[in-house]
Amino acid sequence: MQDPNHPEKFVPRGAIAFFVLLVAIGLVIWFGIYFLMLSRI
Protein backbone atom coordinates (compact mmCIF):
# COMPACT_ATOMS: atom_id res chain seq x y z
CA MET A 1 0.00 0.00 0.00
CA GLN A 2 1.33 3.45 -0.94
CA ASP A 3 1.72 6.18 1.65
CA PRO A 4 -0.59 9.06 0.58
CA ASN A 5 1.73 11.61 2.25
CA HIS A 6 4.71 10.52 0.15
CA PRO A 7 3.30 9.71 -3.29
CA GLU A 8 5.50 7.89 -5.73
CA LYS A 9 7.20 10.21 -8.24
CA PHE A 10 5.51 9.59 -11.58
CA VAL A 11 7.20 10.64 -14.82
CA PRO A 12 5.14 10.05 -17.97
CA ARG A 13 8.10 8.89 -20.05
CA GLY A 14 5.99 7.45 -22.83
CA ALA A 15 3.96 10.64 -23.20
CA ILE A 16 7.11 12.79 -23.18
CA ALA A 17 8.75 10.62 -25.84
CA PHE A 18 5.60 10.77 -27.94
CA PHE A 19 5.35 14.54 -27.62
CA VAL A 20 9.03 15.09 -28.46
CA LEU A 21 8.75 12.79 -31.48
CA LEU A 22 5.56 14.51 -32.63
CA VAL A 23 7.23 17.93 -32.45
CA ALA A 24 10.36 16.63 -34.19
CA ILE A 25 8.39 15.14 -37.08
CA GLY A 26 6.34 18.33 -37.33
CA LEU A 27 9.52 20.38 -37.55
CA VAL A 28 11.01 18.12 -40.23
CA ILE A 29 7.86 18.38 -42.38
CA TRP A 30 7.43 22.13 -41.87
CA PHE A 31 11.07 23.04 -42.55
CA GLY A 32 11.24 20.52 -45.39
CA ILE A 33 8.54 22.44 -47.22
CA TYR A 34 9.96 25.78 -46.05
CA PHE A 35 13.45 25.20 -47.48
CA LEU A 36 11.99 23.71 -50.66
CA MET A 37 10.08 26.98 -51.05
CA LEU A 38 13.22 29.05 -50.39
CA SER A 39 15.19 27.06 -52.97
CA ARG A 40 12.55 27.82 -55.61
CA ILE A 41 12.56 31.60 -55.20
Binding site: P12, I16, F19, V23, L27, W30, F31, Y34, M37, L38, R40, I41
Partner: protein, 150 residues
Protein backbone atom coordinates in the same frame (compact mmCIF):
# COMPACT_ATOMS: atom_id res chain seq x y z
CA UNK B 1 0.59 26.02 -9.06
CA UNK B 2 0.82 24.93 -12.67
CA UNK B 3 1.97 21.41 -13.38
CA UNK B 4 5.61 21.17 -14.42
CA UNK B 5 4.88 19.19 -17.60
CA UNK B 6 2.05 21.49 -18.56
CA UNK B 7 4.34 24.49 -18.18
CA UNK B 8 7.04 22.86 -20.35
CA UNK B 9 4.52 22.11 -23.08
CA UNK B 10 3.26 25.71 -23.06
CA UNK B 11 6.82 27.08 -23.25
CA UNK B 12 7.64 24.67 -26.11
CA UNK B 13 4.50 25.72 -28.01
CA UNK B 14 5.36 29.40 -27.71
CA UNK B 15 9.01 28.84 -28.73
CA UNK B 16 7.94 26.81 -31.79
CA UNK B 17 5.38 29.43 -32.83
CA UNK B 18 8.09 32.07 -32.50
CA UNK B 19 10.46 29.96 -34.62
CA UNK B 20 7.85 29.53 -37.36
CA UNK B 21 6.89 33.20 -37.39
CA UNK B 22 10.54 34.28 -37.44
CA UNK B 23 11.24 31.87 -40.35
CA UNK B 24 8.33 33.26 -42.34
CA UNK B 25 9.42 36.86 -41.69
CA UNK B 26 12.95 35.92 -42.77
CA UNK B 27 11.66 34.37 -46.00
CA UNK B 28 9.50 37.40 -46.78
CA UNK B 29 12.03 40.04 -45.70
CA UNK B 30 15.57 38.86 -46.38
CA UNK B 31 14.80 36.32 -49.12
CA UNK B 32 11.95 38.26 -50.71
CA UNK B 33 9.45 35.42 -50.86
CA UNK B 34 6.57 37.15 -52.57
CA UNK B 35 3.05 36.89 -51.29
CA UNK B 36 0.32 36.80 -53.91
CA UNK B 37 -1.61 40.03 -54.39
CA UNK B 38 -5.16 40.41 -55.61
CA UNK B 39 -5.54 43.51 -57.77
CA UNK B 40 -8.68 45.43 -58.63
CA UNK B 41 -9.99 44.11 -61.93
CA UNK B 42 -10.36 45.94 -65.19
CA UNK B 43 -10.83 44.89 -68.80
CA UNK B 44 -7.19 45.51 -69.76
CA UNK B 45 -6.19 42.28 -67.98
CA UNK B 46 -8.15 40.30 -70.57
CA UNK B 47 -5.50 41.12 -73.19
CA UNK B 48 -2.64 38.64 -73.00
CA UNK B 49 0.73 40.30 -73.52
CA UNK B 50 4.37 40.55 -72.49
CA UNK B 51 5.66 43.99 -71.53
CA UNK B 52 9.24 45.03 -71.03
CA UNK B 53 9.36 47.63 -68.26
CA UNK B 54 13.12 48.17 -68.22
CA UNK B 55 16.33 46.25 -68.97
CA UNK B 56 15.64 43.41 -66.57
CA UNK B 57 12.01 43.85 -65.58
CA UNK B 58 9.15 42.26 -67.47
CA UNK B 59 5.43 41.92 -67.04
CA UNK B 60 3.49 38.96 -68.38
CA UNK B 61 -0.29 39.29 -68.48
CA UNK B 62 -1.67 35.76 -68.64
CA UNK B 63 -5.20 35.00 -69.74
CA UNK B 64 -6.43 31.52 -68.85
CA UNK B 65 -9.38 29.89 -70.54
CA UNK B 66 -10.57 26.39 -71.35
CA UNK B 67 -7.97 24.97 -72.08
CA UNK B 68 -4.93 27.06 -72.68
CA UNK B 69 -2.91 29.96 -71.39
CA UNK B 70 -2.07 33.01 -73.40
CA UNK B 71 0.73 33.83 -74.04
CA UNK B 72 1.46 30.14 -74.60
CA UNK B 73 5.19 30.87 -74.90
CA UNK B 74 6.97 33.84 -73.35
CA UNK B 75 10.66 34.62 -73.91
CA UNK B 76 12.48 36.21 -70.99
CA UNK B 77 16.23 36.93 -70.67
CA UNK B 78 18.24 35.35 -67.86
CA UNK B 79 18.31 37.38 -64.66
CA UNK B 80 14.99 39.09 -65.23
CA UNK B 81 12.45 39.97 -62.64
CA UNK B 82 8.99 39.19 -63.93
CA UNK B 83 5.65 40.44 -62.65
CA UNK B 84 2.98 37.85 -63.43
CA UNK B 85 -0.67 38.80 -63.72
CA UNK B 86 -3.20 36.00 -64.14
CA UNK B 87 -6.88 36.19 -64.91
CA UNK B 88 -9.43 33.85 -66.45
CA UNK B 89 -12.15 34.27 -69.04
CA UNK B 90 -14.38 31.37 -68.04
CA UNK B 91 -13.88 29.16 -64.98
CA UNK B 92 -11.32 29.02 -62.19
CA UNK B 93 -7.92 27.84 -63.40
CA UNK B 94 -4.70 27.14 -61.58
CA UNK B 95 -1.35 28.68 -62.45
CA UNK B 96 1.70 26.83 -61.26
CA UNK B 97 5.26 27.17 -62.54
CA UNK B 98 7.09 23.90 -62.16
CA UNK B 99 9.96 24.13 -59.65
CA UNK B 100 9.30 27.80 -58.95
CA UNK B 101 7.68 29.49 -55.99
CA UNK B 102 4.58 30.44 -57.97
CA UNK B 103 1.12 29.10 -57.23
CA UNK B 104 -1.74 31.34 -58.37
CA UNK B 105 -5.43 31.05 -59.16
CA UNK B 106 -6.88 32.43 -62.37
CA UNK B 107 -10.31 33.62 -61.35
CA UNK B 108 -12.81 35.22 -63.76
CA UNK B 109 -13.26 38.83 -62.72
CA UNK B 110 -10.13 38.81 -60.58
CA UNK B 111 -6.39 39.34 -61.02
CA UNK B 112 -3.67 37.49 -59.12
CA UNK B 113 -0.20 39.02 -59.15
CA UNK B 114 3.19 37.83 -58.04
CA UNK B 115 6.82 38.58 -58.85
CA UNK B 116 9.49 36.02 -59.65
CA UNK B 117 13.15 36.10 -60.68
CA UNK B 118 14.57 33.86 -63.37
CA UNK B 119 18.28 33.44 -62.72
CA UNK B 120 18.72 30.05 -64.44
CA UNK B 121 18.17 29.58 -68.16
CA UNK B 122 15.70 26.91 -69.12
CA UNK B 123 12.19 26.08 -70.18
CA UNK B 124 9.80 26.65 -67.32
CA UNK B 125 6.55 24.75 -67.60
CA UNK B 126 3.35 26.44 -66.52
CA UNK B 127 0.50 24.09 -65.70
CA UNK B 128 -3.11 24.50 -64.72
CA UNK B 129 -3.45 22.73 -61.39
CA UNK B 130 -7.13 23.36 -60.76
CA UNK B 131 -9.43 20.93 -62.52
CA UNK B 132 -11.24 22.94 -65.18
CA UNK B 133 -12.87 20.45 -67.55
CA UNK B 134 -12.11 17.74 -70.07
CA UNK B 135 -9.02 19.45 -71.51
CA UNK B 136 -7.50 20.27 -68.13
CA UNK B 137 -4.59 17.85 -68.41
CA UNK B 138 -3.37 19.52 -71.62
CA UNK B 139 -3.59 23.06 -70.29
CA UNK B 140 -0.07 24.40 -70.10
CA UNK B 141 2.30 27.13 -71.23
CA UNK B 142 6.03 27.76 -71.30
CA UNK B 143 8.30 30.50 -70.10
CA UNK B 144 11.57 30.20 -72.02
CA UNK B 145 14.42 31.82 -70.18
CA UNK B 146 17.26 32.14 -72.64
CA UNK B 147 20.57 33.90 -72.67
CA UNK B 148 20.39 37.66 -73.27
CA UNK B 149 20.16 38.57 -76.93
CA UNK B 150 23.46 39.63 -78.52
Amino acid sequence: MIDKFERNVIITAFCLSGLFIFSLLYAMGARKADVTECLPYDKSYETARVNQVDKSTYQIFYVARMWNFEPAIAYIPVGSEVDLFVTSLDVVHGFNIYNKNVNLMGVPGGVAKTTIRFDQPGVYKVVCHEFCGTGHQNMQAEIIVNFPKK
